[in-house]
Symmetry: C2
Subunit: 126 residues, 2 copies
């Protein structure tokens, strides 16, 4: 409460908040997760791996990640065109913290679902 130093990430004008905006995103996390497991992945394979992502959202997410230096996009001049994605060295630094969140989701999902059920049915009688 009385901490005189405001952590940077709490300041909306600080670069660290803008960096958090980038990575605190489910789709970004899942793209990193898949690229970390497979190194180089084609667009269609990313879409197959990440269940529930629309083509529009995958395209937007990949463009943002490329723009912000997290992934490389390589286009091969063949017919049909072949486009591959991979993590940059900066993107690779995200593997560990983002995998920890994915791991948290797998470890604690039952507690989250139990809390949701209890909140929806506080008396346990429905």
């Amino acid at each position: 409460m009385d901490n005189p130093i405001r952590p940077n990430v709490l300041d909306p004008n600080c670069g660290s908040r803008r960096a958090l905006d980038l990575i605190a995103d489910k789709w970004t996390m899942l793209v990193v997760y898949v690229l970390a497991a497979h190194q180089t992945v084609r667009y269609g394979e990313l879409q197959r791996q990440i269940g529930g992502i629309s083509q529009k959202m995958l395209t937007q997410t990949l463009r943002k990640m490329e723009h912000d230096g997290l992934i490389n996009r390589t286009v091969y001049p063949v017919v049909p065109p072949k486009v591959e994605y991979s993590l940059t060295p900066l993107g690779c630094t995200l593997i560990e913290p983002l995998s920890a969140l994915c791991q948290w989701s797998e470890t604690y999902m039952h507690q989250v679902e139990a809390a949701r059920s209890a909140a929806l049915n506080p008396n346990g009688d429905q």
Copy 2:
């Protein structure tokens, strides 16, 4: 690519994906960050600490986190009403992985900003 076991978090119908939906959110992360530092925080103090969050977004975020078992909301019957928030034991399990992401943002923000500048100005001539 040929991994026959689909990690749960990639399956939109799995509880772990729903748990990831909950925590892969900038505002959730920042609320955990502030509550981790201060244990018990009043609404107004949360809003002051988290720069740039609107009242509507803070209220929505806190409701969702309470509903999903991450935070406790305690109302004291005083005038004016006093409402305090704190992390539940489940919420406390998020401190480490979410702090790692906030830390990443502070460590790598300069690389992200450099990549953004390069993407906006690929020839370095503007």
